[in-house]
Amino acid sequence: MLTLFYHRKHLQWGHERQNWTMEQWKKVAWSDESHFLLDHVDDWVCVCHLPAEEMAAGCTMGRRQAGRGSVMLWAMFCWETLGPGIYVDVTLTHTTYLKIAADHVHPFMCTVCKNSSCLGVSGSLIPADAESFRCFRESQEFVEKYEGALGKGKGRKLYAYKVMMMKKWMKFQRDFENFRTACIPWEMKIKEIESHFGSSVASYFIFLRWMYGMNMILFGLTFGLVMVPEALMGRPYGSMPRKTVPRSEQAGAMDFAVLWDFGGYAQYSVLFYGYYNNQRAIGWLKFRMPLSYFLVGVGTVAYSYMVVIRTMARNANRDGGGDDTSFNFSWKMFTSWDYLIGNPETADNKFASITTSFKESIVEEQESHKDENIHLTRFLRVLANFLVLCCLAGSGYLIYFVVRRSQKFALEGLENYGWWERNEVNMVMSLLGMFCPMLFDVISSLENYHPRIALQWQLGRIFALFLGNLYTFIIALMDEINLKRREEEVVKYNMTVWQASLYNGTVDDNSTTSTIPVDPADVPRGPCWETMVGQEFVRLIVSDTMTTYITLLIGDFLRAVFVRFFNYCWCWDLEYGFPSYSEFDVSGNVLGLIFNQGMIWMGAFYAPCLPALNVLRLHVSMYLQCWAVMCCNVPQERVFKASGSNNFYMAMLLVILFLSTLPAIYTIVSIPPSFDCGPFSGKKRMYDVIQETLENDFPLWFGKVFSYASNPGLVLPFILVMILAIYYLQSTSKTYKAANMDLKKKLQTQNEENKKKNKRAALKAEAELEEARNAVMDGERNYIHPNGQLLSRIPPPCGSADRPPAPRGSEMAGYLPGNPRQPGPRRQRSTNSHRY
């Protein structure tokens, strides 16, 4: 039996030599052994007969059980000469084989290679025996021992060097591979979970890890190109109004409650948009801060799009062609077990789900539709959807209401209100996100859908809920932005008044200086809506994270502790009864993750600290959720397999990415930046920074070219061409699909044809068999000896037409091209041969 090791060895050997020329092959010595039987045939013949048919006496062959005389010869040859033939008098195993090789190969090579350098011996030395490792080692030793002796002169050194380098390279590759797998974070943790809960739970953690990696890059971008340069090279804290806490807030600027809300010193730091200065170039590096800020904002979005789409494409490639439904039952049978399951409870659930899926598909096969009480079902479904819509609308209104109320609070001053009023918006959003899915779950039990369809509906509804909430939040934020901008106008006016009064007051005392040293904390300033938006998002993320962790602790950990320890003294069985342990909700968790990411994308432009916060959150989540899953969750009742849903999640991520970049881009493009804070202060629009850079830092012609390129006359045709290209690609892909379908159909008809042909051949063979049998009957009648004994006859060539090309028993035949004939398979064959 060829084991996996030898497949790889053979294949590798073949690959290394696939480019050899004829001259090189001439220098190879070939060897094989052959087995000659003296008085019988060792091979076996397949006979085709119908199940009910009896064996024709003439088709069977006798076998001699003992005293089979046979001779085994071993020989080798190469292009130039023949080697000696050796009589093998023992059973050929790897040890005797090596002995023969050692005794004869070397002298043979020495005689052959006098005039030319020989490269090696044939791959026939690779043994194919079950005691694989020892054998392999021996043969390797042998080759190593004689390797040097086989080459002569110049070629020898070169060859030895080549072999050495090859070995070194392979070792390096292996070490590198080891290093790389060791570098993948949390690999062992995820594998442990995978072996307990199956691949679907693990797919969540793999997704989480993927998100972590992406956020790491985003964090690197904002941290390295925006936050660090500003902190190191920008003007220090307290040097100008936008970098100083105003006098009125200074008293409580260091309080924990204020910092927790990202006010006070946290607000006037690199964490938020408002702190950045509009100086064009900072530090000795002449770092273009505003430009860098803008480009990082754009780059974050561009990078995210690229990564998501690339991952989607890779996933699609990997499971491409899985849409074929012609093997529905066979797949259920052969591939439904998840070998990773190592937890008995998961296994039990899996058994149950496999059984139901078998039964379901049998029922589906038997009767396609049974629509009893269709009206009731329809009514219930409509009702359920109505209820869900009510929920969605209610939650949307609630959020809008709360945000408006919070604005009222903010106008009146937050100091007069308690913790709840200050955090109302975030808490309401988090609570809605927590309880609405449960409500949807209850409602969906009305609908009586197939579980998989029910899951999709559930996912879609939660998606709609989150999206609705997010967008209400954004609309409310927009209102607030408009409010702030009106306030800004007032402040701007007041400012000129204030400045005038300042000058007027001081002109009398000191007329020489035009700038008066005023503490920057006292300068009146605008509301800076950008920082406000950033703060809102940061607060939202923090409260969302907190809610997630607290739900985890209460809903999973405390529940598990309660169930575990109160089970001893309770009226009913808690573990299997009502509260029981919680399941790990893969879809909900994935959705939470996706929406969290959406908020990061939306808010990252106004709060550069968001990616850092998110990295932190994901990092903690990884450990906390791994721990929670392993210690207090039970496996899901319905075990879904991970594949197939991967791209579904990715598609949702893409939708969210698109939807979250829309408002961000809208604000960047259409709302003028605040006049006294942020890197773009003093400009009409944020993107003017590009224009400015083009004018000042690039040669004149470049700006000209750019202005021509951005001319609508050029842009419009370009867009048109793009649309045409998309249309063209779409239509070609459609034709490819059609061609694919055609080919598939052709294959199917071919298959049918083959089947028919086979059937016809079988019928024909049957008829022939019948004839032959009749003939035998006749013959028997004729050949009956006077003693009444049957004479042996040569078997008729029955069924020879249908004899399969390769014997059934040797499964590996054809598995490896050029597989040398070995004693191994032959021995194997003898154990299961003679299937008469």
Binding site: F5, A130, S330, G342, F351, K641, A642
Partner: protein, 189 residues
């Protein structure tokens, strides 16, 4: 734990890496797990054999319905008792590893499903396979009619040459189209 017995020599380790789809860490972990299973008196044996009953206590295999078949398929024991040497064990893990190809995986899957070792999946094999998949308890078991219907459907789909059995090439044909066979035919220590 024997201090010397639990260590793999360096050259052997690199050889195993060359011959399997496993990485260094996985081989070391496998070796650790394997030495834990070896009985005390066999510790000095250079290539100890672990009986099937012990292999089946591994949590990774404990709840697998095909655990006995897996041991039998990978065992090189002469007496066909399903006992494994360390190298057999590595062979098993290698076939079930992430990087093993579909061809190898489907080949071993076929041998695992071939309960009577005759090289084809006939009705008996398929029936045993269904029983393995639906569990031992009576309430999950299929009725004889359902079983018959199911096996008929399977043969209808995958038995291309209509000989009443599924052979290796038919099996691989079916498996190679399946989207999630490779991701689920895995065992990780």
């Amino acid at each position: 734990m024997g201090t010397t017995a639990s260590q793999l020599p360096k050259d052997l380790l690199s050889e195993y890496q060359e011959l399997t789809f496993l990485t260094k860490q996985e081989i070391l972990l496998a070796h650790k797990r394997f030495t834990e299973l070896v009985a005390k008196e066999d510790r000095n044996d250079p290539s100890p054999r672990v009986p099937m009953s012990k292999i089946l206590t591994l949590p990774e295999l404990k709840s697998n319905p095909f655990r006995k078949r897996i041991c039998h398929v990978f065992s090189t024991s002469e007496s066909k008792d399903g006992s494994l040497t360390f190298e057999d064990f590595l062979d098993l893990l290698s076939a079930f590893s992430d990087s093993a190809t579909l061809e190898i995986k489907s080949h071993y899957a076929f041998r695992i499903f071939d309960f009577d070792d005759d090289g084809t999946l006939d009705r008996g094999d398929l029936e045993k396979l269904v029983n393995c998949l639906t569990g031992e308890t009576d309430d999950t078991r299929l009725t004889p009619e359902e079983m018959k219907q199911l096996i008929n459907n399977i043969l209808e789909e995958s038995d291309i040459d209509k000989d009443g059995t599924v052979n290796l090439s038919e099996f691989q044909h079916v498996i190679s189209r399946s989207p999630d066979f490779v991701s689920s035919f895995k065992i990780v220590l």
